[in-house]
């Protein structure tokens, strides 16, 4: 129910950069996911949107209105905190009801809302407990319930499912997406989990060291990475990034030779190829190496090939098996190769 614009946002903690040059335009009703390694500034960005942290520079606008000087209390956002932040002296019921009381929701409606939110996160049996008497996952769900109990302009969720087991996480993911779609509330979501990011997001924001690396739909992020960081960060196992030389349309690196590449580029180039776009071949092909490791996962088998000093991940057939150190050849799907400038890491298009 609100468009959020972050314009040239900078945040410095003394001499430490928290966030640098962040420009994001979050559309109304959009589900946006922040993804990035620990310490890259996801929480800081979120806290600035919530009004808990003031940007050192830049403007935060909601529906066109500058929010920099608006107190957190008056921003009408609901936030799930990374550390849960449940009120220790209150029961779970009172915790979930707290925002309703503070926002002046009529008393008569409060009980039903609290129970509904608790039901969604499967905590109905724990409403009378104090937070200390809950497990980590239960606390996290209580924190989630406290956020979704009312209908704010914006949901901010900082790793709201990080402490749940796989099954519950999947169930909660569906709930969150459903609530967001149903209530049409603009949502900013932080996670470390790529599956979560890919399945929930309308658009993903990839951050590193306080700076935005790429903003795009899950498809764009996966299929059209802007630089080596994004390429290496997304996907499990991640994209192979092989440094080498490009000249006259031919890329070479130890054990590796790919022809038919654009001739206008040259010099030190990094070639990117996802493991699922590689296949084991018989006879010579793009990559010649030796078997370094074989990992059957049941559904598929991952093969690690050593070429020169470089280890390359290849997705092989599910019943592919090979002895260590035997020679192996790998072919690439050449329509799915990516080239990056080795020095800057930027994509060469």
């Amino acid at each position: 129910m609100a468009r959020i614009e972050l314009a040239d946002i900078q945040k410095k903690f003394g001499l430490v950069w928290g966030v640098r040059d962040v420009n994001i335009d979050i559309a109304d009703e959009e589900f946006i996911v922040f993804l990035g390694p620990s310490g890259c500034g996801k929480t800081t960005t979120m806290r600035m949107i919530a009004g808990l942290e003031e940007p050192t520079e830049g403007e935060i606008r909601m529906d066109g209105e500058v929010m920099n000087d608006i107190d957190a209390r008056d921003r009408d956002v609901a936030m799930v905190f990374q550390g849960y932040a449940l009120y220790p002296n209150m029961t779970i019921y009172e915790n979930i009801r707290f925002p309703l009381r503070m926002r002046g929701v009529p008393r008569a409606e409060q009980d039903a809302l609290v129970r509904q939110a608790a039901g969604l996160v499967e905590l109905t049996d724990y409403l009378d407990r104090k937070p200390q008497a809950l497990s980590g996952g239960q606390r996290q769900r209580a924190a989630l319930a406290r956020a979704i109990v009312r209908q704010p302009q914006v949901f901010l969720m900082d790793e709201p499912l990080s402490n749940l087991d796989a099954k519950l996480r999947q169930a909660m993911r569906v709930q969150i997406k459903h609530i967001q779609r149903q209530l049409r509330i603009t949502t900013v979501y932080v996670t470390h989990d790529q599956i979560e990011a890919m399945t929930l997001a309308d658009r993903i924001v990839i951050m590193q060291s306080g700076a935005v690396q790429q903003i795009g739909t899950p498809d764009q992020i996966y299929n059209d990475p802007a630089n080596t960081f994004v390429a290496g960060f997304i996907g499990a196992p991640p994209m192979n990034l092989i440094a080498g030389r490009l000249a006259d349309g031919t890329f070479t690196a130890p054990g590796l030779r790919v022809t038919g590449l654009p001739e206008r580029r040259g010099g030190k180039v990094t070639l990117g190829i996802r493991p699922e776009d590689c296949h084991v071949t018989v006879g010579a092909d793009h990559l010649q190496g030796i078997v370094f490791g074989v990992e059957p996962t049941g559904e598929t088998t991952y093969l690690t090939v050593k070429a020169g000093e470089k280890l390359v991940e290849v997705k092989a057939d599910r019943d592919f098996r090979a002895d260590l150190d035997t020679p192996v050849a790998v072919g690439f799907d050449t329509t799915r190769l990516y080239l990056f400038d080795t020095a800057s890491g930027d994509r060469l298009r």
Binding site: R73, M79, F81, A85, Y87, F98, R103, R146
Partner: protein, 281 residues
């Protein structure tokens, strides 16, 4: 093997209780001793011969209630102490909140300055305080006692509460703020309940100091109008009757009992509070 281990643990437990029991006896002996003095006739107390079978007497008990306005002393003590603790809390909680939450220039200096008021000898300010209260027309009133007890205790009450507040994660307040709570509400609904053990600890310690306060009470209270238990004790030492030991002992015991009960009742909070205050600066 298993039974041996069990046995040794049993021995251990007996030993533990024996040591604790002995220590408790050592601590309680003076208390029991002056209770026994308080419940014996005067003649028996001042005799130099040892007495193995003391006579029980309520002489002192009757005397302190009929010859002296002990009920009023008691009332004065209670009102002055409770009043002073309330004043302390009203002043200390916001001060501690500010010291623990906001950053501003000189904050740590102010914190230290507040604490440092505790470091000087009270006698230094006795005379100025006497004149201050006289000019304000407060001499010989329990209002003056309330104020002076509050002033004496304010520094460490603030300091203890502050150390508790430092332990509250900032995220908790952030959550309350995004949930729509005002600063006052956050203080009232989130912070105060969370630091209740600290508030109780600080209050009890303040209470104990206030009950034992003698110098300023003597200075300010000149008639039974504002005498408290601690000063009343001093009354039994002069006059034509000489030192009335059994009355002194009984009044001292009466002053001791309420504190003892309170401390036992909140023991759990107290021990936690004292150690917490100790480790966090």
């Amino acid at each position: 093997m298993a039974s041996m281990r069990k046995k040794s643990r049993g021995d251990n437990l007996v030993l533990r209780y024996a040591i604790l029991g002995a220590w408790a006896l050592v601590c309680l002996l003076p208390v029991l001793w002056f209770l026994s003095i308080g419940l014996r006739p005067r003649t028996e107390i001042i005799t130099p011969q040892p007495i193995y079978w003391p006579t029980f007497s309520l002489d002192a008990w009757h005397m302190i209630w009929s010859d002296w306005p002990m009920a009023r002393y008691l009332r004065n003590s209670v009102l002055a102490i409770i009043g002073s603790v309330l004043i302390d809390l009203v002043l200390a909680i916001p001060a501690a909140y500010s010291l623990s939450r906001y950053t501003y220039r000189g904050r740590d200096d102010i914190g230290f300055y507040i604490l440092s008021t505790r470091m000087m000898a009270p006698a230094i300010v006795a005379i100025p305080i006497f004149f201050l209260f006289r000019n304000a027309g407060l001499l010989d009133t329990i209002w003056a006692l309330m104020l002076i007890y509050a002033a004496i205790n304010l520094s460490f009450v603030t300091w203890i509460i502050r150390s508790y507040m430092l332990d509250i994660p900032k995220e908790l307040e952030d959550a309350a703020r995004t949930d729509g709570a005002s600063d006052l509400r956050i203080l009232w609904e989130i912070i105060i309940p969370a630091i209740l053990p600290g508030i109780i600890t600080a209050s009890v310690i303040a209470m104990i100091f206030a009950i034992n306060e003698f110098l300023f009470t003597l200075l300010i209270a000149s008639t039974s109008q504002a005498y408290t238990m601690s000063v009343a004790l001093a009354n039994f030492t002069g006059g034509s009757d000489g030192v009335i030991y059994n009355a002194i002992a009984l009044v001292a015991f009466l002053a001791f009992v309420p504190v003892f009960i309170v401390v036992v009742a909140i023991q759990k909070h107290l021990s936690r509070g004292l150690t917490m205050g100790a480790v966090k600066g």
